[in-house]
Symmetry: C2
Subunit: 342 residues, 2 copies
């Protein structure tokens, strides 16, 4: 992305100062000249809260803080991630994202130009995701008490459907679809963090999932949606299986993992089924709608596939069936393979 | 507040681990046994976003991150502050707060019991403020990359009135009311931080302002509301004067500052007009409604007073009139006197 000139004079303020969060002149300059000028959130931003007129009284509401390190990685940065992650959470509730709040926790000494790059990335991602940033907050912590910058976004969306979407709607016999290949985000972060040079550059899959989800909801009576962030596919399906008190059978051969990600995972000793994604989701749907749903998802990503089905068993389990006929139980890990990937 | 037993076994997990933010078993245990069990946000919390049915399509939306240090101070802590600050922002927009999101950024090594104390304080403050915590997020950053814990709350409220409330509604001749005495929060933080022992313990004024504001809105056609957080009274009035392109005349003798706060400010060299409050606000109203408004505010705090009026001048200014007749211009400071007070 070509950089516009930073609206804060960099020669005078090359770094974020504690005073940029102090409520005085410098904070006002930062908010007005960088944030308001970029996000153009109407006059609302300047007051304590934004006034919004919702087109519906059926809302979805979500929040996420972003602490990813490093701040910039192949295929994205903390700014675009903070938009994609939150609009995707709304999409997973079957809601159309409308409004986002944006809150920064900056570390004293952060290069002002880094903040400006992130702000521009946020604006580009918000535009692409058709959401408006309507209110915000800025805090600055002393040097050594943060890590460059953390972001929180909260989001309001409206539910445009009547169905209950969630684990409690999942039925035995339901089909499980995966929207694309796995593991790109986690591996992209790890390679940027460790300076690992894989043969092929692996870019994060971070992207808004609003369009495929809203399209799917128009054509299919979806039972459950879940994006595959921290803990990856295996953790998400474990959560759903536990909540629904059902089991899940997966076919390993149907789960797309690119050769580059597979190679990197083998090198590092990671299981791609547990690696985080920021642009992938599973949809659990009635078996009768499988063809329609697959057709819909493959229009957005040809790698979308039917990867398994929901079954009724005595114990709640997620089981992976290998091409050679062996079975492996996918359990919930204690922690996660990679900290701070989002 | 008497502490209930921490639902996470402290002998096994005396400190927050990176794995508590990793998407696996430990994170689920923390979320389910500590957060969901305490906040009881319906089933919604476990999914990506909470489904809400709003009683109105006229919303107010706000966000704030809280980085106050120390985490506990006389009269409050980061948890109660994170509720009061956000419900107060909604109240200042003339809205009734309904739903809050809650996001933690925890530093690896934070004592689990500290988190538990904060969680209980959050729940008590939310109950007192009549808001529900409906969705949340937890991130953990490595030791030395945070400062114990940071909190973000975002809030949704509904506007129950038809008037435009904000600086653009302010008119020359309007009366300015202050809801109580100034400076307690900033001085309480400072004394806790520096270990200063003043003769009398000064407690933070942190509290929800929802009740007095909604009461005032029922009886008076309010033009503008502003809580007096970072930068204090002087900064808030400067912002309003600049936005409204008008001037403000204050009577120093009408502005309540307790003897304890006055003494502490003199000792440290601070101006109470710039010190942060977390439970004080100004209301700007038509002069004709002054008696009604004062009567209303004094029912909540006898220290509420009419402190000045809005005037039309060539230059936008906030002017303080001393009892002896001298005038002093209150300007916007560059930074703030005290960093990280909220």
């Amino acid at each position: 992305m070509p950089l516009s000139t930073c609206p804060i004079p960099l020669q005078r303020y090359p770094h974020v100062l504690l005073a940029h969060g102090g409520g005085g002149r410098l904070m006002h300059q930062l908010i007005e000249e960088m944030f308001i000028a970029t996000f153009q959130p109407d006059a609302a931003w300047q007051h304590d809260a934004a006034n919004l007129d919702s087109p519906s009284d059926r809302l979805a509401f979500t929040t996420d803080s972003y602490v990813v390190t490093p701040l910039f990685f192949p295929g994205g940065d903390i700014g675009s991630l903070a938009i994609h992650g939150t609009v995707n959470d709304l999409a997973m509730a079957g809601a159309r994202p409308l409004y986002l709040s944006l809150s920064f926790i900056l570390e004293e000494g952060l290069p002002m130009e880094v903040l400006w790059r992130v702000v521009q990335s946020i604006q580009a991602a918000a535009k692409q995701s058709h959401v408006r940033i309507v209110t915000g907050d800025t805090k600055v912590v002393d040097r050594g008490k943060g890590d460059g910058l953390f972001i929180n976004t909260a989001g309001i969306g409206i539910r445009e459907h009547d169905s209950l979407i969630g684990p409690s709607a999942v039925q035995p016999g339901d089909t499980i679809l995966l929207s694309g290949d796995l593991g790109r985000h986690g591996i992209a972060i790890l390679s940027a963090r460790e300076g690992l040079a894989f043969e092929t550059a692996i870019k994060s899959d971070s992207m808004p999932l609003v369009a495929p989800v809203l399209d799917l909801l128009q054509h299919v009576p979806v039972h459950c949606l879940r994006d595959l962030t921290r803990g990856g596919l295996a953790s998400a399906l474990n959560e759903i299986a536990m909540s629904a008190n059902l089991s899940i059978q997966l076919e390993a051969s149907k789960i797309a993992v690119s050769a580059e990600v597979q190679g990197a995972c083998e090198l590092i000793g990671l299981d791609p089924l547990y690696v985080a994604n920021e642009g992938r989701f599973v949809a659990i749907i009635p078996a009768s709608a499988t063809a329609t749903a697959l057709d819909c998802l493959q229009r957005y990503d040809p790698a979308a596939q039917v990867i398994g089905l929901v079954t009724e068993t005595q114990a709640t389990r997620v089981i992976l069936q290998s091409p050679l006929g062996s079975q492996r139980m996918l359990d919930l890990l204690s922690g996660e393979q990679l900290p701070r990937i989002c």
